[in-house]
């Protein structure tokens, strides 16, 4: 008889691979480099990685990259800020009061069914083509997922905890701070991840319509001159920004939700 416990098949995905997240992108980059070096890729179709790197250097040297990046980040940041604030407040109103839910939830579900980008023609008519329209479009794309997931999180708080709060005679403030907000936090953070993605997505679209600045504009201009290297720089930039912001939210998620042990940990 063996003293060792019988070997049991683990049902979780297993140990995380160190730097596993970088594996896929590095592989992709390698294929791209090889294809360019061997001349399989026409530079007019897709510039070589090293051309993209030198172009990035040139763009930084003449300041175009920084300027466009700054204005793009500002738009995305403002839209995200307004969208998250509006989505959270609406979710709280609708999650904590039946009247709020009756009044707010319907219209927001309808808004959810209409892609924010489909509203651009109307927004241009109302707000013109300036920054207001751009930030509003991003805000509209951001607040919906924040609302949906935060509201869902609020509604999902176990009623037993509400009963606990009642039995302890918690004041409304304590109840919100200790039970409602932390209980809804996982939902809020999930919504935030979708929101960040939506913010960049909306940014791309608004910057390629009637814009005279931003990464999207830079790419649009490059298209007119057939400069695939600049287009790729823009794409990489969008990708990096998206990854960084998603990574930031995930970091916050991990920090804020240490009490949760999930399958992926």
């Amino acid at each position: 008889m063996s003293l060792l416990s019988p070997h049991r098949r683990r049902l979780g995905p297993g140990r995380p691979i160190p730097l596993g997240a970088a594996l896929g992108p590095v592989l992709l980059l390698a294929i791209w480099s090889v294809a360019s070096a061997l001349g399989w890729l026409d530079p007019r179709t897709l510039s070589a990685p090293w051309t993209v790197v030198t172009t990035t250097g040139d763009l930084i040297a003449d300041g175009r990259l920084q300027d466009n990046l700054a204005i793009s980040s500002q738009r995305a940041g403002l839209g995200l800020l307004f969208g998250v604030a509006i989505g959270t407040v609406l979710a709280l109103i609708s999650g904590l009061s039946r009247w709020g839910e009756a009044i707010l939830d319907g219209p927001i579900q309808i808004k959810r069914a209409i892609p924010s980008l489909a509203l651009i023609p109307l927004l241009i008519l109302w707000l013109g083509i300036g920054e207001g329209m751009k930030v509003t479009t991003i805000t509209l794309g951001v607040f919906v997922p924040v609302y949906i997931h935060t509201h869902n999180g609020l509604r999902g708080i176990d009623s037993r905890y509400v009963e606990l709060g009642e039995s302890l005679r918690l004041r409304t403030g304590t109840f919100l701070r200790r039970i409602v907000l932390p209980g809804a936090l996982p939902g809020f953070l999930l919504g935030l991840r979708f929101a960040v993605v939506n913010a960049w997505l909306a940014l791309v679209v608004v910057e390629q319509i009637n814009s005279t600045s931003g990464i999207g504009y830079m790419m649009e201009l490059a298209r007119e001159y057939g400069q695939t290297d600049i287009i790729v720089v823009g794409l990489v930039l969008y990708g990096v920004l998206g990854l960084l912001s998603d990574g930031a939210v995930r970091l916050v998620q991990r920090r804020a939700l240490t009490w949760r042990r999930t399958l992926a940990d």
Binding site: R160, Y161, E163, L164, E166, S167, L168, R169, L170, T174, R178, I179, P182, G183, L185, L257, T258, W259, R260, R261
Partner: protein, 252 residues
């Protein structure tokens, strides 16, 4: 003392003036229930039930599953909802509930859970003391998930006693624990109750648990208190156990 009947306030026949003189009369019972009825839809669960629990008295409540034990406890705790009924309920203002599940907030650390209902600057200090009393010193900063079932139930006990309640309402608090942990918890509960002297109403399924812990054992049947038996420590536990089992209609 405060009187309440949850959402059924209109039916409670209490005067607010009770609060003024109740504190002075120590002979006043901790709990007084008169003509309490509760039902869900057409189904009557509690039917004109009367109950009195003295100050510091430890009462165990037995009864078949579905006999309305939890319903009675919730009525006393003022937690009843979706329920119809009438009757007067008088309970102390400072009461605590221990639920069948430990019901700790998973997103708050153990100490925060214990002091959840406390106010004032010394809350943390009192919380630490309460945790030490249940033998969980040093676990203040743990997450509830990191504790065993028995430890979680001890945290719940600490949370319910930290406010020094005059009445402790416990709904099968040890139902989910193994036999050994249960026995330890019995000792702990008895010790804590001897120290803090709250009146206790403990709902349980376990006749032995009732006989070991309580001064008085009630059996709820048909919506009323069918048996009200004082536990005489001079008499053997087996004798009580057998008479209760006989009364419950189970052959001993």
């Amino acid at each position: 003392m405060a009187a309440h009947a949850g959402g059924l306030k209109a039916d409670a026949e209490d005067g607010p003036d009770m609060a003024a003189h109740a504190g002075g009369l120590m002979t006043d019972p901790a709990v007084r229930v008169e003509g309490l009825s509760r039902g869900f839809g057409a189904r009557t669960v509690l039917d004109d039930l009367d109950l009195t629990i003295g100050q510091g008295e430890f009462v165990a409540l037995l009864g078949r599953s579905g006999s309305g034990k939890s319903t009675l406890l919730r009525a006393l705790a003022g937690l009843d909802r979706d329920v119809t009924g009438s009757g007067a309920v008088r309970v102390p203002r400072s009461l605590s509930v221990v639920f069948q599940d430990a019901r700790l907030l998973p997103w708050q650390r153990v100490l925060t859970n214990v002091v959840l209902g406390l106010r004032g600057a010394d809350a943390a200090l009192r919380g630490r003391a309460a945790l030490a009393e249940v033998g969980l010193e040093g676990r203040e900063q743990a997450w509830p998930n990191e504790l065993s079932g028995g430890e979680q139930q001890r945290v719940a006990l600490a949370r319910s006693l930290v406010s020094e309640p005059q009445l402790l309402l416990a709904d099968e608090p040890f139902g989910a624990l193994d036999a050994l942990t249960r026995i330890r918890m019995h000792g702990l509960l008895r010790e804590l109750c001897a120290r803090h002297r709250p009146a206790v109403l403990l709902v349980t399924h376990d006749v032995d648990e009732a006989v070991t812990l309580a001064d008085r054992v009630l059996v709820l049947d048909d919506g009323r208190i069918a048996i009200d038996q004082r536990i005489d420590r001079g008499q053997s536990a087996t004798a009580h156990r057998e008479s209760l089992l006989a009364a419950l209609g189970v052959a001993a």
